[in-house]
Amino acid sequence: MSAVTTPGTGALGPGAVDAGRTRRRGRRRNLTLISGLVLFGLIVLCALCAPLLTGQDPIKQNLPQAFLTPGSPGHPLGTDAFGRDVFARLLYGARVDLRVGVLAVVSPFIIGTIIGLVAGWFGGWVDTVIGRIVDIVVAFPFLVLVIALVFAMGSGTLSIYVAITLVGWVAYCRIVRGQVLVAREQEYALAAKASGLPTWRILLRHLLPNVILQAFVYSMSDIVLTLLAIVTLGFLGLGVPPPTPDWGTMIQEGQQFILTKWYMSTIPGLAIVVTGLALALIADGIVDKANK
């Protein structure tokens, strides 16, 4: 590490030092991927095993038991303003937010990839038309368009899926299109074309496996962004309708009591940060594996 301390020496003498460093980096990055996977696995496990980890009902109100502090008997993280168990809401909230977050990435991924394949392969007016549509969608801030669409279609999980799909596909389309533009000039693609294979077969069997990786890498950070969008909708009161537990709604409910009960907003926020961290580590690890 100390071999490079000033930009001067760094610029002059990479050479031999770099080989060792790359190996070391490779191993460290694998660690990144593994720690991300372990962390995310644990979170998913907690969400799946929610009924085993807590006997409490996340929705049942119990007003005399409201505002219990963390550490109260039977309520390890306390209770909220309606006397609902915070630990149970946190676990069941993970189920809701993770499910919506991951599922909401699937359809933009598929749709964007297909449109990107088509745009990149056919080029010409097809590409121009798709490019224009992409330009228009990205002219709207992601969150604003999602919120406006959810508003127009009426709140609910289905609206969230549809809104995120309508806005989210463009990122995949751009990534895949760029990759196809490069791939279609390569010999395997030219050979596939020359051998007279049907276009769908060339696209799905020959090009797709070669261009999907970048889209997949992006989808990891996209899950984080989507998760953030969902909890933000919850925070704004436009997300998964109550009383379904959702981390964003929990933060919003806690905000009113922030001065006396700081933990009410802090705990679900930390859950989001840790989940985001796990996914970011996975994304980083995959990027590095892919670049090797």
Binding site: G10, I136, V144
Partner: protein
């Protein structure tokens, strides 16, 4: 002259995008399930008021003529009337725009002040301890919900330490500045990770190039090489990254304004949504898109100033 031609070209390229934006905003109202007039007025509305609204919205005409009317009004700056406030939508937007612009500017400034030094240090001390710490910032920052960060900042610096107001925007210039510190930092936290990543990478590239080696071997001080020679060249690609993400950030102002109770257009949008005030939601969505278009344009123009190759090609 070349620069002027470049500006003109960029402006012409915007026309189809603006046209498309107007189409999206127009169709937003058609997404409302069922009859928009009935949905908007609620189940208790009587037949007359529904019919009146249908006529006002032009729902009895063909889709094409509805759009042309909408576009015609739009070009005259007429965004319709708010159902909730007795004001034109344009009036509502212009009164609530200043806090949003304040927020964007202060967010961008905080981003630059925080990210540029960190990225430069990380690149200059590549693989050092500081570099490794700085490189961890983006990984943690990616999943940080800005509204939660805002609440935490309010709790710590507003309520516990009392350094900054917990919300609002004040009425005087000095109050604006004080009120913008915490929201600005909140916004900056979204951009800082992204900017650090891109600026660090391009700084490393630049620091390895021949002219930096030459500058070093001439005996120029490291600080001058890094800030005087390398940063400007590294900045060109980061300006683009910053611009693209500023567009994303324009949307985040919406939640940050909510957290800090700033009376900006984002806060106005949420209130209008909760009040089912459709023309206002439509108008604000349009305004947000136009803001993104303007940010993108400014990014391109800045890049062309920094890098002559952009405007020559």
């Amino acid at each position: 002259m070349r620069y002027l031609i470049y500006i003109l070209k960029r402006l012409i390229a915007l026309i189809p995008v603006l046209f498309g934006i107007s189409l999206v905003v127009f169709f937003l109202v058609r997404l409302i399930p069922g009859d928009p007039a009935t949905t908007l007025l609620g189940v208790h509305a009587n037949a007359q008021s529904i019919a009146a609204l249908r006529e006002q919205m032009g729902l009895d005409k063909s889709l094409v003529s509805q759009y042309l009317t909408f576009l015609g009004h739009l070009l005259q700056g007429d965004l319709g009337y708010s159902y909730v406030y007795s004001s034109s939508v344009l009036g509502l937007i212009t009164t609530s725009l200043p806090p949003t612009i304040w927020l964007l500017v202060s967010g961008t400034l905080f981003t630059l002040v925080i990210a540029v030094p960190l990225a430069v240090i990380a690149a200059a001390r590549r693989n050092g301890v500081l570099d490794n710490i700085i490189r961890a910032v983006p990984v943690v920052g990616l999943g940080l919900p800005s509204f939660w960060l805002g609440i935490m900042l309010i709790l710590l610096f507003g309520l516990k330490l009392g350094w900054f107001p917990v919300g609002g925007y004040g009425t005087t210039f000095a109050a604006h500045i004080r009120g913008m510190v915490l929201p600005g930092i909140t916004i900056a936290f979204i951009l800082v990770p992204i900017l650090i990543r891109s600026l660090r990478a391009s700084m490393i590239d630049v620091l390895n190039s021949d002219y930096i080696v030459t500058a070093n071997s001439k005996g120029i001080s490291t600080a001058r090489v890094v800030f005087g020679h390398a940063l400007r060249n590294a900045a060109t690609s980061s300006v683009h990254v910053l611009g693209v993400n500023l567009a994303y950030l324009v949307g985040t102002t919406l939640v940050v304004e909510r957290v800090f109770s700033l009376p900006g257009i984002g806060e106005q949008m949420i209130n209008s949504i909760l009040g089912r005030d459709f023309p206002t939601v439509q108008g604000i969505t349009l305004t947000f898109a136009i803001m993104v278009v303007i940010v993108n344009l400014l990014t391109d123009l800045t890049q062309a100033v920094l890098d002559p190759r952009v405007r020559l090609s």
